[in-house]
Amino acid sequence: MFLDCSAPKTLEGLAWASCYLTSGKHIDFYWAFVVVLALLACTAPMALMFGYGGATAARSHSLPVRMFGKCYIAMVRGIPDIIFFLFFVIALDQAIEWTKHQIVCPDWTEPVRQGLEFKVCPAAKVPQAGTAPVVHQIYGFGLAVVTFSIVFGAFVANVLYGAMNAVPRAQLETAEAYGMTHRQVHRRILVPQMWTYALPGLSNLWLILIKATPLLFLLGVRDIVYFARELGGSKTQAYEYPHPDWRLWYFLGLMAFYLLMTWGSEKVLRRLSARLSKGQATAAGEALRKAGAVA
């Protein structure tokens, strides 16, 4: 089916709608869904990493490391994520450029901060001046991923910290009695077992992460909320497809998308939880064992 969309103002009904829904901006809108999913896919493992680091730090034997871990968890938890997103990206961007500046241009004499201005030597700009816009976009996306990961990493750290403490003490003591070193206990006993205790908390976090993505536009990523606002707003004749205010419908569409994501995730997570409970010394594991014995 080929549509002639060159003169949309003459079209009507279904032809208009199909041209409208396939306009360049709508294609961008559909891509934004992919961007959101990609962000989720990148953020989840990274936040797990940050969280694992934070939880391990909070359980460390050395006081400064422990303090650092606990501060990280408490700080990020006490502050609404939206506030982090509002200034953290610029701060992160400047921190990266400042670090690079120190390495690349040690002989630079001008101050980096002049009033409100932040000026590093040209070689320290990230990305370099003159790179393709797509590189800038990827860099912006990267910053968003790191910011999201730091915020959600704190939540993950909190869950993992609780899960590590929930692993029965006797198991660790048994391992020590077998002559395992501290590291071995950590790696072979604690970490494999903590997941089953952490999973309920982590599944909740995954759902929370999904629901935090409408704030992506604060981080300079053109996400689905940005496009829903942009496309739904009433359009004058300056546009090819003039229409009244349709934001309500676009947002209803987004709502459906999020409900679907939540519904799907809950199904997958329920299965995962059943699998992880297998052979564990918990109520759920016991239930599985009994069910298996009957069968």
Binding site: P8, S23, G24, K25, I27, D28, I90, D93, Q94, E97, Q114, G115, L116, E117, F118, K119, V120, P122, A123, K125, Q128, A129, G130, P133, H136, F217, L218, G220, R222, R229, E230, G233, S234, T236, Q237, A238, Y239, E240, Y241, P242, D245
Partner: protein, 251 residues
């Protein structure tokens, strides 16, 4: 030692290479027709985009457009994410304190009130304006009750829904909105002059770049091409305020 010299030579060459093929990044909002907006094909277009491209051509620069949220448009300029702002930004004292402006490329324009009827109370009623604009500041001082929205779009919607009796915004933005409302909205006869026109915003330290753009704007004022561009039907129309002879002074 030799390697070190070589390395620093390479850095110098790199920097020289950059200076010759200087790419200037222009920041814009992309949500303020006809100044700048995203068209249905998903491209940034509008008066400022056409003007900016022409200015870059005259100044011998390669330019690319960057879209940025209005709220953080100045912090991101200062942070170096782009080099100049062209986003319908009025030249005001407040902004002048933190960034530099070129000479204006749109003369001081009127701001207008638009309401459902011509007799609404704009001095004591509820007036909608976009957060962080000079119009919002003006309404707060006028005695009217200010109702603030994040986008210009929502301010107009507020009048239609009856949330506010009037919206106060740039006249150029409101004219097509009123024209296409089918008589639902009317423009009030109470224009106000605010700000020093629209100019290009740059970092304080970028005097060289500002000089280049200043010269390019002046040359467009001198040959009348700027006025012609402003008066184009798709932008501000033949009735728009232009520079005229005042712009040709000192050519």
């Amino acid at each position: 030692m030799k390697t070190k010299i070589l390395a620093s030579g390479a850095v110098l060459a790199l920097m020289a290479g950059m200076a010759s093929a200087q790419t200037v990044r222009l920041g814009t909002e992309g949500a303020y027709p006809p100044y700048n907006f995203i068209n249905d094909a998903g491209e940034i277009v509008g008066f400022e985009v056409e003007l900016g491209n022409e200015l870059c051509k005259r100044a011998g620069l390669t330019c690319e457009w960057v879209q940025n949220d209005w709220d953080s448009i100045i912090p991101n300029l200062q942070s170096g994410n782009y080099d100049a702002i062209m986003a319908g930004m009025s030249i005001t004292d407040e902004r002048e304190e933190v960034i530099d402006f070129t000479q204006n490329y749109i003369p001081p324009a009127s701001s207008s009130y638009v309401g459902l009827t011509a007799d609404v109370d704009i001095k004591g009623g509820v007036v909608a304006a976009q957060t962080g604009t000079i119009q919002a500041g003006y309404v707060a001082e006028s005695g009217a009750t200010l109702l603030e929205f994040a986008t210009p779009e929502e301010t107009v919607a507020a009048v239609k829904s009856g949330e506010a009796v009037a919206v106060f915004a740039d006249k150029d933005y409101l004219v097509p909105v009123v024209a296409e409302s089918g008589g639902e909205l009317v423009m009030l006869d109470a224009d106000v002059q605010l700000g020093g026109g629209v100019g290009m915003g740059l970092r304080d330290s970028d005097d060289e770049l500002r000089g280049k753009f200043d010269a390019a704007i002046k040359s467009m004022k001198c040959d009348g091409s700027l006025d012609a561009l402003i008066a184009r039907a798709e932008y501000f129309g033949p009735e728009a305020v232009v520079f005229g002879d005042a712009g040709k002074e000192g050519c």
